[in-house]
């Protein structure tokens, strides 16, 4: 865009437009992931016995590690936000990259986990439980990946140049949402067997 749009700067609600938009995005994502999880639950209640047996094969240890990575990355991203409010570019970028690092651990552990499950013969088509498992965790993993990419873009494209500080908070909100989805996926797939 060649020039600033006046509309973007207005804020009749008191919430800056970027952040307001992120809340709406999160709202719609609640329904997308929620729809998937609700469908999983409906099937789970229908097939209690067989799905329990299937679910016994998920790797609780890796799931727990992944929960830990995401929880900690949530802390880091909120530190990044605090640093961005102080306009401290170096600290902001440091915390963002640490967040991305932990996201990377999450994806790495998940890759290993998928590989070992496939090795033991559990693919997307093995049974309906596994179809849901891969779809839900896969969709979530995709969201983690997108979040990592956007975090990197903000760190290097904006914060390095000292502008658009508000974006750190906005991507932070998205990242927390991704964390919350995992907070619910983890007990569903790994604990409540």
């Amino acid at each position: 865009m060649a020039h600033e749009i006046i509309a973007t700067g207005r804020s009749r609600t008191g919430i800056p437009t970027g952040r307001l938009a992120v809340w709406w995005v999160i709202g719609s994502e609640i329904l997308i992931f929620g729809g998937l999880i609700a469908t999983y639950l409906l099937n789970r209640f229908n097939h209690g016995p067989s799905w329990s047996v299937e679910a016994a094969n998920t790797n609780t240890f890796i799931g727990a590690c992944n929960t830990f990575w995401l929880l900690t990355s949530s802390l880091f991203v909120v530190y990044a936000h605090a640093a961005s409010e102080r306009r401290d570019a170096a600290k902001t970028r440091m915390w963002i990259w640490l967040t991305i690092l932990l996201g990377g651990f999450f994806m790495g552990f998940k890759t290993y986990e998928y590989a070992s499950e496939i090795h033991h013969g559990f693919t997307l088509f093995t049974s309906n439980f596994w179809s849901f498992y891969y779809t839900a965790t896969g969709l979530h993993g995709f969201h983690v990946l997108c979040g990592m990419v956007i975090l990197a873009i903000i760190a290097e494209g904006d914060i390095k140049k000292g502008r658009n500080w508000h974006r750190v908070e906005n991507i932070g909100l998205y990242w927390h949402f991704v964390d919350i989805v995992w907070i619910f996926l983890f007990p569903l797939m790994y604990i409540a067997k």
Partner: protein, 575 residues
């Protein structure tokens, strides 16, 4: 209410230092909401021609079974299913939604709330690009081996999931991908509309000063956003079933096909209100301008539409009364379905009320707006029969349902859209459309429309099923008088399509040779009419407008002019 922006200086000057924009950046890759609005509008209109053509072809098959149809040839049963499916899909997703929400929303919202563009212009552009891609994917699906998907716009598995049943191994996933892309485009667009309206209003524009059209599009966007989530999850699952061989919806493998129905209709029912509300917004605007009266019970309409939106999430299973759902659930859904007619009725009557004692001007736009009210009333009333589960057991999947939803959808997607085009054409293009030809177009369209669908109500009550290729194969439905009605309906469709040529010619000719329109040819009060026609880049020049009163101050007592624009400063008090 914090105004975070620095000086609210318009773009008048910023564009004198001209960035020489190429054709591509001005018209194709523009981030200007007006251009994006046009892009949606023209794409939607082009898709309407395709959808209308499909309807012509399959109606000809029904009227003259087995014959060679002009401009098509003979129609096979598989192709028939494909045309029926894609007619419905196109009309809902690629005509009604883009024109009513994306085109009207993009063009009107920033103008009506007094700002210079949407708050996220680049996401706006992206949403159109994704939408265009979805249209292209759908059209491609018609030409792949096996042809376009033929499993009905509702796409129930296992028909839609297994290629061995639907015979369209490429068409089915492409159709689903097209719909998913379209949904993503509208999610992005919706966030733009909602955020813009919440945050970017002109100074002084309070909640009840917002024009009803803007409210309706925003509420529709919220409804859309909230209802489409589970469907996206379902679409991903169905796509995996189609392409990867998973069995989310395969009963034999432990999946549940009825789950798809719920995922679909949880979206499908709010969807009809998603398209209804903007249409009602258009009618509200047009009626006030041409009756020279305030909108009756603005707050009541607003709260009714919000109530309608909330209630619309509780009625979806009325599409599933005979699919084996628990009968006790049908009590609940019948009740909520009957209840939902109340807010709709309130709103319709509130649009009729300004006509009383108004100074009516029957411009073409007004004629279409009034026709909307009359035709939609018929459609809505027939919905009450269908909403009662007992009656629906007989009427489900008959042409009665089809006639019902055409009496609601055609007013929404066609009649209200014509009203909008005739009304805002001067603002969009700086010239007026020809009124005489407009009126001829109006009468031809409306009379033909009724001649198409009233016979279909009768046929439906007589038991004629939907989605049948040739009724001559069913002795009970093959009688001469029934076939005569089918022929009559089909010929009326041809007549209606021919009358649209008048509209198209009128539109194109008026672009160049229409009577020049000034800023405010209709003497209206809302903010879009205070600026040039067509509005310049940045919409309002150097100073952004400020609002002092509601959007429908017509025929205010004691004033000389019969309209009082929103942005006119209040007069200093004199004795």
């Amino acid at each position: 209410m914090a105004e975070v922006a620095p000086a609210e200086v318009g773009h008048g000057d910023a564009h004198d230092d001209h960035h020489e924009e190429s054709f591509w950046s001005r018209y194709v890759f523009s981030t200007d909401h007006k251009i994006i609005g046009f892009q949606y509008m023209f794409t939607g209109m082009a898709m309407a021609l395709i959808g209308g053509y499909f309807a012509y072809v399959f109606r000809m098959q029904l009227a003259f079974p087995g014959s060679s149809i002009p401009f098509w040839g003979t129609l096979s049963p598989a192709a028939y299913n494909s045309l029926v499916t894609n007619h419905g899909t196109i009309m809902i997703f690629w005509v009604a939604m883009p024109v009513l929400i994306a085109a009207m929303g993009n063009f009107c919202i920033p103008l009506m709330i007094g700002c210079d563009d949407m708050v996220f212009p680049r996401i706006n552009r992206l949403s159109y690009q994704i939408f265009l891609l979805s249209a292209i994917v759908l059209i491609v699906s018609f030409f792949v081996p096996g042809g376009g998907f033929g499993g009905a716009w509702t796409s129930y598995p296992p028909l839609s999931a297994k290629a061995e049943y639907n015979s369209t191994p490429f068409g089915a996933p492409l159709w689903l991908i097209a719909v998913t892309l379209e949904i993503v485009a509208f999610l992005l667009g919706g966030i733009n509309f909602i955020t813009t309206t919440m945050n970017a209003r002109a100074k002084g524009m309070k909640i009840y000063d917002i024009p009803m059209l803007v409210w309706m599009i925003v509420i529709a966007s919220i409804l859309f956003m909230c209802s489409v989530g589970p469907l996206i999850a379902g679409a991903v699952m169905l796509l995996f079933d189609q392409t990867l061989g998973t069995s989310f919806f395969d009963a034999a493998a432990g999946g549940d096909p009825v789950l798809w129905q719920h995922l679909f209709w949880f979206f499908g029912h709010p969807e009809v209100y998603v398209v209804l509300l903007p249409a009602m917004g258009i009618v509200a605007e047009v009626v006030c301008v041409f009756a020279r009266k305030k909108l009756f019970a603005y707050k009541l309409i607003l709260y009714s539409s919000i109530g309608l939106g909330i209630l619309s999430f509780f009625v979806w299973a009325h599409h599933q009364f005979i699919s084996g759902v628990d009968p006790r659930a049908t009590y609940l859904f019948t009740t909520t379905t009957l209840l939902i007619s109340i807010p709709v009725a309130i709103m319709l009557f509130a649009f009729i009320a300004p006509l009383y004692g108004g100074s009516l001007r029957f411009s073409t736009a007004m004629l279409f707006a009034l026709a909307f009210i009359a035709e939609f009333l018929l459609g809505g009333v027939t919905g009450i029969w269908l909403g009662s589960s007992g009656v629906d057991i007989y009427l489900h999947d008959t042409y009665f349902v089809l006639a019902h939803f055409h009496y609601t959808f055609v007013p929404i997607a066609i009649i209200a859209v014509f009203a909008a085009v005739y009304h805002w054409f001067p603002k969009m293009f700086g010239r007026k459309m020809n009124e005489t030809w407009g009126k001829i177009h109006f009468w031809g369209t409306i009379i033909a429309f009724n001649c198409i669908f009233i016979p279909l109500f009768i046929l439906g009550s007589a038991g004629q099923h939907r989605r049948i290729y040739n009724f001559q194969n069913f002795p009970d439905l093959a009688g001469q008088n029934m076939q005569d009605m089918r022929v009559f309906a089909t010929l009326s469709l041809v007549v209606m399509l021919v009358f649209q040529i008048i509209f198209i010619v009128n539109f194109i000719v008026s672009l160049k040779r229409g009577e020049k329109a000034g800023k405010n040819p209709w003497n209206a009060t809302t903010l879009e009419w205070i600026t040039e026609s067509p509005p310049p880049h940045g919409n309002f020049g150097h100073t952004m407008p400020e609002v002092y009163r509601g959007p429908y101050e017509y025929s205010v007592e004691g004033r000389e002019k019969d309209y009082w624009p929103q942005n006119e400063p209040p007069e200093p008090k004199t004795t």
